[in-house]
């Protein structure tokens, strides 16, 4: 076949090169890869937005709570104002520890001996739960960030494979014939990188924020635990 004819014949399909055309011309496997990567990208950005908002909220809540906590207000009053409401961050730790404290004294002070240890345990568990809540779904970002380029690469390799098969079948190596197939194949890698790059960056950023929040909670837990154990010792001595 005359190369010029082939070129002409291929042009109606290959001509534009818009994103949609690149997508529709692709092999079904490449299409699936592209759709999967786009979905992953949407999901990643959803997580990024949610987590960013969550961390901002958590940070504000912690600031507010610490302000109240160190304002000299009575712990009992603070607990009464908080224990019926859903809480997060430091407030959750506080209510969990105070609940344990209250229960121990409701029983008439019989279980004072290991109260301090129990409070520590309760705080640890609470910190763990809070951290889990903060870090939930962050692993999705890590996974997408690590695997999306490879998935995209798979789509590209597949696309180029089929492109070369087509070239072999048409027995024509004109660049105009080869280029569209390769372009659509590379489009898969482009989408993979499009999904992976924000995921990797956001994962590192959010991971750091989660670690910071966790550290803050642990610090608070230690301080609060110290305050409570001093109270316990005073009461036992009394």
């Amino acid at each position: 076949m005359n190369p010029a004819e082939v070129t002409q014949a291929a042009l109606p399909h290959a001509g534009g090169g818009s994103l949609l055309e690149l997508f529709w011309q692709a092999h079904i496997v490449v299409k699936l890869v592209m759709l999967g990567l786009i979905a992953a990208s949407v999901w990643c950005w959803a997580i990024i937005v949610d987590k960013s908002l969550l961390y901002a909220r958590t940070r504000r809540a912690m600031d507010r709570f610490e302000e109240v906590f160190w304002s000299g207000q009575s712990l009992d009053e603070l607990y009464r104002s908080l224990h019926n409401r859903p809480t997060q961050g430091l407030a959750t730790l506080f209510t969990a520890a105070m609940r344990e404290w209250k229960r121990s004294f409701e029983g008439g002070g019989r279980s004072m001996a290991s109260l301090s240890q129990r409070i520590d345990k309760v705080l640890d568990v609470s910190i763990q739960r809070e951290t889990e809540r903060l870090e939930a779904r962050l692993l999705v970002l890590a996974t997408v960030g690590a695997s999306a380029p490879f998935i995209g690469l798979f789509g590209t390799v597949w696309g180029i494979m089929t492109a070369f098969q087509s070239i072999a079948a048409s027995k024509n190596t004109s660049l105009a014939v080869v280029a569209p197939g390769i372009a659509e194949a590379l489009f898969a890698t482009a989408i993979g990188l499009f999904a992976a790059i924000p995921a990797v960056i956001a994962y590192n950023k959010l991971q750091a924020e989660a670690a910071k929040a966790q550290g803050r909670m642990e610090t608070f837990a230690d301080e609060f635990s110290a305050i409570l154990s001093r109270q316990i010792d005073e009461r036992v001595a009394a």
Partner: protein
């Protein structure tokens, strides 16, 4: 309502998905707009390999043959060069350049044929070989017979192409090609029109004879019977004669001798030796012999010297920085064929007066004496542009 409120609550609590989805949709739309169509690259011309050829090379390639009976409207390069390249089947022009090829003369004939229609020649060769074989064999195979044979050989070889013919004798080993030559005989008219019609047919005939004997049994048989008979040359000549005159053969032979010298010395020598247009100021300039650069300079100097004798420098010539270019048209006897014209202009003060006095001097000094040695190149110097550097005329 509950579903809607649940969705609303979810969106309020986890706005990420909605935000992300809308963000991606926006990016997709932007991408569709921005990349709606790929901008095509600026057209880039494919590079084509070009061979540079000087005017003299081209002239040599296209030069006419003095012995040619006709001037063809569409001149083609000489065949001698082609013969050399025949094996490679290169373009005629390229073939012309290969001087070493002479030994393969037999190929010369084949080449033109090969170019035109290689397969048919072979078939023809088979049919026609008989006449040719005798001719070929005598020179090579039968030393004793040489006397009668040599003549046919000589007569025949020169006609096709001097260079080739001269060499054919040494080249007998190439006999395998003869069939082609034999073929060429029937086709001679084609090769000839391209080069020189008369010369070509003849050479072909001689060659086939020589070459064919070794290869073809039939040819050998024929040769064995025919070689002795001198009439052989006549046969080929007659065959060719339909298109070629036997009398042309002698002319061709003469030209061949020159060509041989040319081949041994180089293209340029052969050009001057054999170049010439029968028609003089011929219809096609490409057939005319070309002056070499040195010759051109020499003629320019000659004319300047002669012009200088009639030239009187106008005032201000010293300030003229631009050399006027004067176009001088000469006729064969050295007289002016047309009034000289100044082909350029300049703002230099004095340029006009200088150019004008130059023009008058050229008119006054006519006719000019052009040495006879340049007469063959008349086509090349009859229209001359003289760059009249003031220094040349003040000196």
């Amino acid at each position: 309502m509950t579903v809607k409120s649940a969705i609303l609550r979810f969106v309020k609590r986890e706005p990420g998905l909605v935000a992300s989805g809308t963000g991606h949709a926006a990016i997709l739309v932007a991408g569709l707009v921005a990349f709606s169509s790929a901008t095509p690259f600026a057209d880039q011309q494919e590079s084509v390999a070009v061979e540079l050829m000087s005017a003299s090379e081209f002239g040599a390639m296209m030069r006419g043959d003095k012995s040619a009976k006709e001037v063809k409207p569409d001149p083609k390069p000489r065949a001698d060069k082609v013969a050399e390249v025949a094996e490679e089947k290169p373009v005629p022009g390229e073939a012309a350049r290969d001087v070493p090829a002479p030994p393969s003369r037999p190929q010369v004939l084949p080449d033109p044929k090969a170019v035109e229609t290689p397969p048919p020649p072979q078939q023809q060769a088979k049919v026609e070989p008989t006449p040719e074989p005798p001719k070929v064999e005598p020179p090579k195979v039968e030393p004793p017979k040489p006397m009668p044979k040599p003549e046919p050989v000589k007569a025949e070889p020169p006609k096709p192409e001097p260079v080739k013919e001269a060499e054919p004798k040494p080249e007998p080993p190439k006999r395998p090609e003869p069939p082609k030559q034999a073929e060429t005989k029937p086709e001679p008219p084609k090769p000839e029109p391209k080069k020189v019609e008369a010369p070509k047919p003849e050479p072909q005939k001689p060659e086939p004879k020589k070459q064919e004997p070794p290869k073809q049994d039939l040819a050998k048989l024929i040769e064995s019977s025919e070689p002795k008979a001198k009439p052989q040359p006549a046969k080929p000549a007659e065959q060719a004669s339909s298109k070629f005159n036997p009398s042309d053969i002698q002319k061709l032979l003469q030209s061949k001798e020159k060509a041989q010298n040319a081949a041994s010395t180089g293209h340029e020598v052969s050009r001057t030796a054999s170049a010439g247009t029968r028609t003089g100021a011929g219809t096609s300039n490409t057939n005319a012999p070309k002056l070499s650069m040195a010759q051109r300079d020499a003629i320019g100097r000659l004319l300047k010297e002669q012009i200088q004798r009639c030239f009187s420098a106008p005032p201000g010539v010293e300030q003229v920085k631009t050399s006027p270019i004067v176009r001088v048209e000469l006729s064969a006897d050295g007289s002016l064929a047309a009034s000289p014209k100044v082909a350029n202009s300049s703002d230099d003060p004095g340029f006009r007066s200088y150019a004008e006095s130059l023009r008058r001097a050229i008119l006054r000094c006519a006719p000019y004496h052009i040495p006879a040695q340049y007469a063959p190149f008349m086509n090349d110097w009859r229209d001359l542009n003289i760059v009249a550097d003031p220094q040349d005329f003040l000196g």
